[in-house]
Symmetry: C2
């Protein structure tokens, strides 16, 4: 089975210089994937000169959604943006998934408008992978929804569990809810009620997970509202960056410490590789009738290729039908309750 | 001027073995501080054997609040707990501040009941210091309030700024609000309204700070509701711990990497010292008519001594009167608005 991924080549901080190069490399290394490069043709083709792969097509789109553009305006005015056309290709069945490093708000708004929600799901959620002491966890929502109801959090749990079930071939992945105390009495009313719904849902619910529990790997899927999730994710990114800066500074302090750094380089590089956030690039917009993956705007070629792989893998493993089946299973239960 | 700090010696994971040792060391190193060691006398005195400092007094209290005890029960039933008696000493003016490594919820409930709130402040907030690329920032609330109104967040801003003004002798410390986007349009309604109030408050308000902005040092005071703050803090702790574990693992991989670790040890130790969370131990419960500092339950002697120093420094610099004055200044403005 071949999977086709539409790529918004104009999105992100570096545009085609990153997106097209990453797509080209990706196709070279993955026999089962075709890509459709969406964007301004004369900006895309220079990066393809060396390649004439039949699995690479260009689809011209004349407009670009700016990184700081208001999502509502991008939705209304940019009908021929690379972002929108890439999403249209998914809608029309010409692509199995799409990837963009562009404006998150616009990607969310346009995806929702074009693709619509899966039956039984009220809102999309941003789901990303974070490294943990035990491997990795899937956390959602990371910023699509600033206010969530308990029902939304339940839906996030169902979607996250279905995603892990499909992509990692795990029957009953563990699901936790982000909270401020391990005891059931803590947390706000929405979280408490959501925990009750998750407990009754038939999911493999393990209860509350505190902030540090994310990195301890206390659950394979962790649900939270988008405000809390976004703050936790970005605080983590900020801390990791600060620690890396401090570590570099210590090794750069003198000629002697620089020599030590040289000796320690293989060890430090192994460490860096292990926690490299670029490996985890590619957050999926779950809940839509189509696979949409958001790359970090600042992604480099290696990083963006990981986002393409994520999109391809969701298509290969049938994440959407898995979610749809699981939600259908849930609905009768909900109606009885 | 001598400052007296009451110490709940029975709180925390290690009780007097940590708290009394830390207090004894602290008094030896600080001429201007006396301590009152509160708790079960026969558990405290063994750790004092070597010392006969006139600035160390023992105040017997027969009960202990358990780390997992329900705050409401601790408040109702444990009238002679070391925690409560230490807080009573502050109330009665026998101590200028108190420190506890015990049950956070109980400490909050008992402090609020015994000391009451400062005029114009509705709720206490937990305020801690976090290291940043530029030095450090004060973040509040870190878990006392799971649902905050915009007015509460404004009060947190005023309290945080007053604290920094008093303790760090800065006239107009910068104040930011934790949010999920740098643009004013993002975030939920409470945060948006709170940002408006902060903008009109006369504080040196710098606007939205995203999660990573905490560690970039984008504001000296960062306000947020206790749910978000607690998750961000604990996620940071969890990530730092995971990274430390990974780094250790890489250096322990083989005889060669262990040798490298030995060579790199001075550099790694400098790094560790710089980001050592024990240096930042001691979160203050702001908004009460008295200084109450919460130490991490797992604090060691070095760490607990830092919490004592924090309590002493708040007393020395008159943080409470600074907050009271600043709130009084705000109130007429609020009433007009």
């Amino acid at each position: 089975m071949t999977v086709t991924v539409a790529i918004d080549c104009m999105g992100g901080d570096f545009g085609p210089a990153v997106t097209v190069r990453a797509a080209r490399d990706f196709v070279e290394n993955h026999d089962d994937v075709s890509v459709i490069l969406v964007g301004i043709e004369e900006k895309i083709s220079p990066f393809l000169a060396r390649s004439a792969d039949s699995r690479i097509a260009i689809h011209h789109a004349s407009e670009i959604v700016a990184m700081d553009e208001a999502p509502a305006l991008a939705l209304r005015n940019k009908k021929d943006s690379s972002m929108r056309v890439a999403i249209n290709l998914v809608k029309q069945g010409q692509a199995d998934a799409c990837v963009s490093a562009g404006n998150t708000g616009a990607l969310m708004a346009i995806s929702r408008f074009v693709l619509k929600m899966l039956p039984g799901i009220d809102r999309p959620a941003i789901c990303a992978i974070l490294p943990t002491a035990k491997g990795h966890s899937h956390v959602l929502d990371l910023g699509a929804n600033v206010d969530c109801s308990p029902e939304h959090l339940l839906q996030f749990g169902i979607m996250g569990a279905s995603l892990v079930a499909a992509m990692e071939h795990k029957d009953r992945p563990t699901v936790g809810i982000l909270n401020i105390g391990a005891e059931a009495i803590k947390g706000n009313d929405v979280v408490k009620r959501a925990a009750e719904l998750l407990r009754e849902s038939g999911l493999n619910f393990v209860g509350n997970v505190e902030g540090d529990g994310i990195y301890k790997g206390e659950a394979e899927v962790i649900v939270c509202d988008g405000f809390v999730g976004n703050v936790a994710l970005k605080a983590s990114e900020g801390l990791a960056q600060m620690l890396a800066t401090f570590l570099k500074r210590e090794f750069n302090r003198s000629l002697l410490t620089k020599l030590v750094a040289l000796i320690a380089l293989p060890v430090l590089n192994n460490f860096k590789k292990h926690v490299d956030h670029r490996r985890y690039n590619g957050a999926t917009l779950l809940g839509l009738k189509g696979i949409v993956v958001k790359s970090h705007g600042s992604a480099d070629v290696f990083s963006f290729a990981n986002a393409i792989e994520r999109a391809a893998e969701e298509a290969r493993t049938g994440v959407l039908s898995r979610i749809t089946e699981r939600v259908a299973l849930q609905q009768p239960l909900q109606e009885i309750a």
